[in-house]
């Protein structure tokens, strides 16, 4: 648990956009909002597995591209009438570079 792991520069993700990080056990979607906040969540919609990184980003939420469920990027919770939650992962930005907590990757590798 020593060092955070570097993912890349913030500007590699468009504002109101997302990119994926591939790990042995799945994809993590890293989002950048209009206000330049960065969030990371599991790239898999709990509804039918839609790739959340492909959704439209608005405020600190994303709308799933397959059937329009909306998720809060900070909590991972589905909004409105839909029920469900995606895993969220701790990330931080330092000097324009995005880092992810190291235990996340270890945990994912262990699964």
């Amino acid at each position: 648990m020593t060092e955070w792991i570097e993912l890349g520069s913030v500007t590699a993700i468009p504002l109101r956009g997302a990119r994926c990080v591939n790990t042995p056990s799945g994809k993590i979607a890293v989002f950048r909002t209009a206000e330049d906040q960065v969030y990371a969540i599991e790239n898999r919609c709990p509804h039918k597995g839609g790739p959340l990184s492909e959704g439209i980003v608005h405020g600190a939420s994303v709308t799933c591209p397959l059937h329009n469920w909306v998720f809060d990027l900070a909590t991972g919770e589905a909004q409105g009438a839909d029920e469900g939650q995606v895993q969220t992962y701790p990330v931080k930005v330092d000097g324009g570079v995005i880092y992810i907590a190291p235990d996340v990757l270890m945990q994912m590798a262990a699964e």
Binding site: R19, N22, P24, E54, I56, H58, T63, P65, L66, A109
Partner: protein
């Protein structure tokens, strides 16, 4: 048939003709003269047109088809200069026209104060469309200034509209407060304050001395020495009945043309109605009583007994964002009492004037929902003793009823007037909704005319719909485009143009979006509206597009994509087929399918392979088929005269030509075309958004079909003699749809909303308009007709197709 001549194509005569054709069908052969070079339109709506919130096309009340269907000979742009009653003819530039019965409906002329400088160019009235166009032209000059003389209803509507157009506006008003005929000083003050908050200067007690200028107006000088610079001066100080031809003809004229209860003048064969008449010494200046006159006049002509009775009128100011209502008599007097309610923080002011426990006048500012309720009491002389304490709080407080606006509307009596302009009462609306099975506002307007004139009772009509239809009424269909805004699609589109909004943040700021960056519903819509409105200027916002349009392929349920290259008009060749086969092999694409749109779909392509697949397809000359786009999809064709023994024209050739001309265009929803070579219709053209059926004499152009969620055969738009004409009409039709359609509204829904007639008028009848639409389409194609695949093969949006980082073992299939 008897010859009926009508002088003046205004609001009153338009309504009168409708009633005449109902009351006495086939009885009259009608000739309609109008001094304006156009037919009847809704004059009330000139204010929203001036403000850029509506277009002239939307306020036309009677169009060419209507006149044709009723056999009305129209003589627009022709002023009647005299009436020879002895010989029963009217005189105009076109000669003499005989009549058996004559209707005079010449309205009013704006009053122009005889000031020095009144004839300078740039001094105008606010009465007809030409005035509006002149004002709009000047408003486009940067920094243009307007002085409006007259702070009444008309002057303030003009001032607010010109202000919305970005002009610097000063209102000069002779009296101590604005709209003094409708408002008391307190409400006048609130109104003035609200107008000033918009940046309009209001100068009361202003004595205008002269209009200054050399070749055109430059300024207005007041008696007190103040001078206001002006590029236009709008005189809105009043109107006087237009009675000149009646006076010359020796009819009895006082302030207006004198009519009896049957709307007949001093000559039994001459009838008159509208603002030009005087009945029991009253001259009217609002449409509601004129519509009553229209009914009576039609009955008189149909020889049915009826009598016009003077009516009370209520007034509302049509300025977006300002609510003012006034009715009845609100002057102070000995024998009167008043009840006043003020709420300074929310800018609400209400005042009721009572006499003998009956409401005789009401002035409401800031919150006007109870206006019709008070107005109803005024007209009925309701005794208010029992509700005196809570009267001012409005209907919702009475009888312990909940503070629910729905309940308040539900509680209105059946004969309560809902639409003042058209005199439509509650039961007429609820009854028609039920008997005709109406479910949307536009059709309620069409069938009952309620809220079809000035529109200020729209919210009441909507509540009645909700009450009558219960759960089956879905107000969302006519309401905000999404929860981020109060505005509906139409309003947003109009305001984008009117306020020249050129980016999504600008729209959200100016139109007061409730969220910071919209949602997945509004952003794609706004992006489309901007792309369509400002071609070449607006830079597409990729992040506001749905994934399919962002990566130019269709996402599948497992997160892979499908790729559909164009096959122009369904034609292909061995080279293309070989390239498709090679690409399927090379990228191990699991499924290859012939689509319902006459082309080939490669399904199950991995996202990161997309640029590679496209590069190979591009190399064989193929471009994106846009199977994912709210844009031009397929153009299906049949083999036509090239091969088929029945083919009448080259349907394949026309299909290919259309697709090559129109590909790349973004549209509100997808657009599918088809061209069939004969009426056997093998390309299924009659269920497409636009379809062509070739016939011996040319091309029948069909439109507004659907074969998806709804099934609907097309309707005939028109016949074109040549292929070039067909192409021009189809392109113009598509452009009109691009400019008017709501996002995700397919052509058949758009056509239902705006009416086939308005579409035909623009793309079939009006050649100049067709040409302009066509040219706007061609202009925007310059920027749209770029193959998105090729751009991405060359590196555009590369981030979309690669992971940001990879860790550990390579990931298995996603």
């Amino acid at each position: 048939m008897e010859k009926l001549v009508v002088v003046g194509a205004g609001m009153a005569s338009g309504r009168a003709l409708e009633h005449i054709f109902e009351e006495a069908p086939g009885r009259f052969d009608v000739t309609l003269f109008g001094a304006e070079p156009r037919g009847n339109y809704n004059r009330l709506m000139l204010s929203p047109v001036l403000a850029g919130e509506k277009e002239y096309e939307q306020i036309i009340t009677h169009d060419a088809d209507w006149y044709r269907d009723h056999g009305v000979q129209t003589r627009f742009g022709e002023t009647v200069t005299g009436i020879d009653r002895a010989r029963k003819v009217v005189v105009s530039a076109g000669g003499e026209t005989p009549y058996d019965k004559l209707i005079i409906a010449t309205g009013s002329a704006p009053f122009i104060i005889p000031l020095p400088g009144k004839d300078l160019p740039g001094v105008m009235a606010f009465r007809d469309l030409d005035d509006v166009n002149r004002m709009v032209d000047v408003s486009k000059r940067p920094g243009a200034k307007a002085v409006v003389i007259g702070g009444g209803l008309l002057g303030l509507e003009a001032a607010a509209a010109l202000n919305a157009r970005g002009m610097e506006v000063v209102v000069l008003h002779l009296m101590g407060h604005v709209m003094e005929r409708q408002l008391d000083p307190a409400a006048g003050y609130l109104l003035q304050r609200d107008l000033e908050a918009r940046g309009i200067t209001v100068h009361c007690k202003a004595q205008t001395k002269a209009i200054l200028g050399q070749d055109r107006v430059e300024a207005v000088a007041l008696e007190d020495g103040t001078v206001y610079g002006a590029d236009i001066v709008v005189m809105a100080v009043g109107i006087r009945p237009e009675t000149r031809i009646a006076v010359d003809a020796g009819l009895h004229v006082e302030r207006g043309i004198v009519v009896n209860d049957q709307m007949v003048t001093s000559d039994p064969d001459v009838l008159a109605l509208g603002e030009c008449v005087e009945h029991e010494k009253i001259v009217y200046g609002l449409v509601a009583p004129l519509y009553d006159q229209a009914k009576i006049l039609a009955k008189t002509l149909a020889k049915v007994d009826a009598a016009f009775r003077p009516v009370q009128t209520a007034t509302q100011l049509k300025v977006t964002g300002v609510s003012v209502y006034s009715a009845g008599d609100f002057a102070d007097a000995e024998d009167r009492e008043e009840i006043v309610l003020r709420d300074a923080t929310s800018g609400i002011y209400k005042r009721l004037v009572l006499k003998d426990d009956r409401v005789i006048g009401a002035v409401l500012y800031g919150e006007t929902a109870d206006g019709p309720w008070f107005f109803d009491m005024i007209r009925k002389g309701t005794d208010t003793r029992d509700m005196r304490d809570t009267l001012i709080f409005g209907q919702a407080y009475q009888g312990g009823a909940a503070l629910d606006p729905m309940a308040a509307v539900a509680a209105l009596p059946d004969d309560a007037e809902i639409c003042g302009c058209n005199g439509v009462c509650k039961s007429a609306i609820t009854g028609t909704i039920a008997s005709k099975g109406l479910t949307d506002l536009d059709s309620v307007r069409a069938h009952t005319k309620a809220s079809a004139s000035c529109g200020s009772c729209t919210h009441l009509v909507e509540k009645l719909m909700a009450i009558t239809l219960g759960d089956s009424y879905n107000p969302a269909a006519v309401k905000p485009m999404c929860p981020c805004t109060e505005h509906d699609h139409g309003t947003v589109r109009r305001l984008i143009v009117a306020k020249e909004l050129k980016s999504i943040p600008a729209i959200m700021q100016e139109l007061e979006w409730k969220t910071s960056c919209g949602c997945a519903k509004c952003r794609p819509a706004l992006n489309y509206y901007l792309v369509a409105e400002w071609p070449g200027e607006y830079e597409d916002d990729n992040q506001s597009r749905f994934i399919n349009e962002r990566v130019h392929a269709n996402i599948q349920k497992d997160g892979t994509y499908s790729v559909v290259p164009r096959m122009w008009g369904g034609m292909t060749n061995p080279k293309e087929l070989r390239a498709i086969a090679d690409v399927a092999d090379k990228f191990a694409i699991p499924a290859v399918k012939v689509t319902g749109g006459q082309r080939i779909d490669l399904l199950g392509v991995k996202k990161e392979d997309l640029p590679g697949v496209w590069a190979d397809l591009n190399a064989a000359g193929m471009v994106s088929g846009a199977a994912y786009a709210k844009g031009l999809r397929t153009v299906k064709t049949c083999v036509g005269s090239d091969w088929c023994r029945f083919g009448t024209q080259d349907s394949t050739g026309l299909g290919v030509r259309l697709e090559k001309f129109m590909w790349g265009a973004w549209t509100p929803a997808k657009v599918k075309l088809a061209v069939s070579g004969c009426p056997r219709n093998c390309a299924e053209a009659t269920c497409k958004d636009i379809g062509v059926i070739c016939v011996d004499s040319g091309y029948d152009i069909q439109f507004a079909g659907a074969a998806g969620l709804d099934i609907k055969g097309t309707e005939l738009l028109c016949h074109a003699d040549t292929e070039n004409e067909a192409l021009e009409i189809i392109v113009a039709l598509t452009q009109l749809y691009r400019e008017q359609g709501h996002y995700l509204e397919r052509i058949y829904k758009w056509a239902k909303r705006v009416g086939n007639d308005s579409i035909k008028a623009a793309v079939v009848d009006d050649l100049a308009k067709r040409r302009q639409l066509y040219e706007r389409f061609v202009y925007s194609q310059q920027f749209a007709q770029v193959d998105p695949w090729e751009e991405r093969v060359n590196g555009k949006d590369a981030h979309e197709f690669a992971a940001m980082a990879e860790f550990g073992l390579p990931v298995a299939a996603e």
